[in-house]
């Protein structure tokens, strides 16, 4: 540590060059931070601690097919199942198809199971008392400037009302929030009552889109899943039950291999970065060979010189990289505040920082090792003579 100022001085020996290199490193790690944030958001979709004791039951044929509601009491009777939610995708559109947000009809016990969403008690009572009531996430409410008591018209894309009308009007009676601010993305949904939905819709009555089972003990999930699927085996509506995580992972996987795309881009970026900064480091050391020789003359060991050069290259990458990740973190939070939490990006948190810093140190070592060896092996006499 006592040589820090020496390393620092060496790093900024040529200010312009170092600043340009830092900016290149910054750009690379800004991109790393943004892409890793997207990747994390996809990889972790629904992957929250509270979700491990929940399972999702959908039609085995396709999750777009409905299941009969008659399964409900039979699923509830399965040992290990604490509570069962049922829900329907509604797919309603608010004003313009561009205003895409999820809207679902849910059973009354929804918020009792999804404890990561907080609905104030008076709002919950109002929801239970209002047939046409709807409960909306705080982020969505802010986005459209709604308030309690507003009437929200949705145009149905799947389910018309009995009279053939496509317009469903809901009363906003409650606003829920995510318990954990990191899960703001969950505040983008509008829920309304399944009983009203089922009574008013033109077709499909008595069917639900999916069931969600809350388990007493998540270690029994395999066993419970088998028992649930056995209920409908060989019937016309066979089911497929899996943990919420597995379901979300499969759903996200349908978009494509985000990991592969992100990985390929980052490989291209870092390959370029290593060449670029490696070249700069080699150049910087080449220019300073006589200085390194002086250091050795003063009594610096071979290893000392080696570590000085390595420290310099790691410092270079760390400086640029940390600035890049800071920029990425700022960008992500700016995007999230301006566009709402619906963009698939997770905050630049501990895991991304850890990966980033490890990468920085790795790249720093990689680009520093050749120049450092060169510095270590130089012979004082030759170097001082400029040979």
């Amino acid at each position: 540590m006592k040589y820090f100022h020496l390393v620092w001085a060496a790093l900024f020996r040529r200010k312009a060059r170092t600043i340009f290199t830092l900016l290149s490193v910054l750009a690379a790690f800004l991109l790393f931070g943004l892409l890793d944030s997207v990747h994390t958001a996809f990889a972790k979709a629904g992957d929250n601690v509270s979700g491990v004791d929940r399972m999702v039951t959908v039609s085995k044929v396709s999750f777009t097919m409905q299941l009969p509601k008659s399964l409900l009491p039979r699923i509830e009777n399965i040992p290990g199942v604490k509570a069962v939610i049922y829900a329907n995708w509604f797919g309603g559109v608010y004003q313009d198809p561009k205003n895409a947000f999820a809207n679902e009809a849910v059973s009354p016990n929804f918020f009792e199971v999804y404890t990561e969403l907080v609905l104030p008690a008076d709002h919950a009572r109002a929801f239970a008392a209002t047939r046409t009531g709807a409960v909306v996430g705080a982020a969505l409410v802010n986005k459209y400037g709604w308030k309690i008591g507003d009437k929200i018209p949705l145009q149905a894309s799947i389910f018309p009302q009995k009279d053939g009308s496509n317009i469903w009007t809901f009363d906003l009676v409650g606003i829920y929030e995510a318990r954990d601010p990191k899960q703001r993305a969950m505040e983008q949904v509008m829920f309304f009552r399944w009983d009203y939905f089922d009574e008013a819709r033109q077709f499909g009555n008595g069917n639900v889109g999916w069931y969600i089972e809350h388990l007493t003990d998540h270690t029994r999930s395999d066993e419970v899943a088998k028992a649930i699927d056995a209920l409908s085996a060989n019937s016309e509506h066979e089911t497929k039950t899996q943990t919420e995580q597995a379901f979300n992972a499969a759903f996200v996987g349908q978009f494509g291999d985000i990991g592969l795309i992100v990985g390929s881009i980052m490989a291209a970026v870092f390959f370029t970065l290593v060449l670029l900064t490696g070249n700069t480091m080699a150049q910087a050391v080449r220019e300073r060979i006589p200085e390194l020789a002086v250091l050795k003359t003063l009594g610096f060991t071979n290893r000392g010189v080696l570590s000085l050069v390595l420290a310099e290259s790691i410092l270079l990458i760390l400086l640029g990289g940390v600035l890049g990740l800071v920029c990425a973190a700022l960008t992500v939070s700016a995007l999230q505040t301006s566009m709402g939490a619906q963009i698939p990006m997770s905050q630049v948190g501990g895991a991304i920082w850890l990966r980033g810093v490890l990468l920085m140190i790795g790249i720093g070592l990689l680009i520093g090792v050749l120049p450092a060896l060169r510095g270590m092996r130089l012979r004082i006499v030759d170097a001082l003579a400029g040979r």
Partner: protein, 451 residues
């Protein structure tokens, strides 16, 4: 007093210089962005030609030629650092072209799917076929509407189709993915003239048989000819593979009546697609449907329908691709700046000597710029070539707008490659401009005195 004035003057000059270089930077940025947006491909040869004429016919041109030649012939001595520019720019262009090729391929697949002389009708407000339900009466009314072409037998060419989803396993990641099963009617081959059987045979009407689109066959496991799929607790035999060269390649087709009975849809269907007498007949057809009080349907030409379905995703990929490209390009500009400044620094004495024997500033600027642009162009060509070799016709699938998979192929078109080259040239321009100006402004005496 005198020194004070002198200091003041140098101070003023420094401020002026900063303002000037800032101005140059802004102008360069604006100029380059304008270049990026508007430059048509034929302008490049014209510019090159002008440059060649200038170099061949004027005094400055001659000077530029010699300086450039010296620079280029000493390039091999600076191979390491010059290749950094080439590879850096190749990375930017490669990633950019690959990402835009994804958007282009998806859009092309969706747009090819439709045509101007077929129209699709779905229930009002449903936006996608999967959401739509049409009853038997609706289907009859739609098929009989004016504007629909009649077959020689006198029957209208209309296909009432039923869309249901099925879970198949995606080969690439082993996870379940939702695939569209399209129950089709007798007129299907007249509605989709591009589609034809490429292996096996057509399904037999009334049987639990399916034909698989070429894309679906490649992307999903377990649907070879002869395989049995269990859908809705019934066995379905795969009897053929069809190729339509568009989004229908991602689907499985079966007899609409069989699909309807197995999936308990009775006589209802999802959509009706009709062949119009000609492209102009769409307005007649649309007016006929909206004028009928018994019908609540939305209708579009199939071209519009499928284009709209690709709009959102295509835009998203384009925005993402461009953002990533811009960030990478910024990194590459600084890399190029570093390399070219170093190149100018190593050639400082040589350039100063040239200046001392009477070469002017402009040829020096132009020659450094030319060198950078050539390196950038090489990088652009390399990047575009890699993107083309690896990604042209690379097939992938993603979630389309009706919650089911759409298989598409990346498309590295000439326009995209040109786009990538424009980016390369812009990066080269920005990365070369300041080193070039520096080279021209080098004070001759100090540069000559330097070691």
């Amino acid at each position: 007093m005198v020194t004070e004035d002198f200091e003041k003057e140098t101070h003023m000059r420094k401020i002026l210089e900063v303002i000037l270089s800032f101005g140059i930077m802004l102008t360069a940025l604006v100029g380059v962005i304008a270049l990026l947006v508007v430059l048509p491909w034929w302008l490049l040869p014209v510019l090159v030609l002008l440059l060649v004429v200038w170099m061949a016919s004027t005094r400055y041109g001659h000077q530029t030629r010699s300086v450039t030649w010296i620079g280029l012939s000493s390039l091999t001595q600076r191979l390491g650092s010059s290749s950094v520019v080439v590879i850096g720019i190749a990375g930017v262009v490669g990633v950019l072209v690959a990402l835009l090729a994804m958007a282009e391929g998806f859009q092309a697949t969706m747009q090819q799917t439709g045509s101007e002389d077929t129209a699709i009708a779905v229930r009002a407000g449903s936006m996608a076929e999967l959401n739509s339900v049409l009853m038997r009466e609706d289907i009859m009314l739609i098929a009989q509407a004016s504007g629909v072409k009649k077959a020689p037998s006198g029957q209208p060419i209309a296909s009432a189709e039923l869309i249901v989803g099925a879970s198949l396993v995606k080969k690439s990641n082993g996870l379940d993915a939702n695939v569209e099963i399209r129950g089709v009617g007798a007129h299907v081959w007249e509605i989709y003239p591009n589609a034809h059987i490429v292996a096996g045979r057509l399904f037999t009407a009334g049987m639990n048989e399916l034909i698989v689109g070429k894309g679906a066959h490649e992307q999903f496991a377990g649907n070879d000819i002869g395989a049995t799929l269990i859908l809705n607790n019934q066995q379905w035999k795969v009897v053929g593979i069809f190729d339509s060269g568009d989004a229908h390649d991602s689907e499985l087709w079966g007899d609409a009546d069989v699909v309807a009975s197995v999936f308990r849809r009775g006589s209802s269907r999802s959509s009706v697609t009709v062949r119009l007498t000609d492209a102009d007949a769409f307005d007649t057809f649309k007016a006929a449907l909206s004028g009928d009080p018994r019908l609540h349907v939305d209708t579009k030409t199939t071209r519009d329908y499928y284009s709209e379905q690709s709009e959102q995703l295509t835009r998203l990929i384009r925005i993402l691709g461009t953002t990533i490209g811009v960030i990478m390009a910024i990194g590459a500009v600084f890399g190029a700046l570093n390399t070219m400044f170093a190149a100018v620094a190593t050639r400082a004495r040589e350039i100063a000597t040239l200046r001392a024997i009477g070469f002017r500033g402009l040829p020096v600027v132009v020659s450094v710029m030319l060198e950078t642009m050539l390196l950038a162009l090489a990088g652009g060509v390399l990047g575009a070539a890699i993107a083309w070799l690896v990604f042209d016709d690379y097939t992938a699938s993603t979630l389309g707008s009706s919650f089911s998979q759409v298989v598409f192929a990346f498309k590295v078109s000439p326009a995209l490659i040109w786009n990538g080259l424009k980016w390369a040239l812009a990066i080269g321009f920005l990365g070369g401009l300041f080193p070039a100006l520096r080279a021209a402004q080098l004070p001759v005496t100090t540069a000559l005195r330097e070691l």
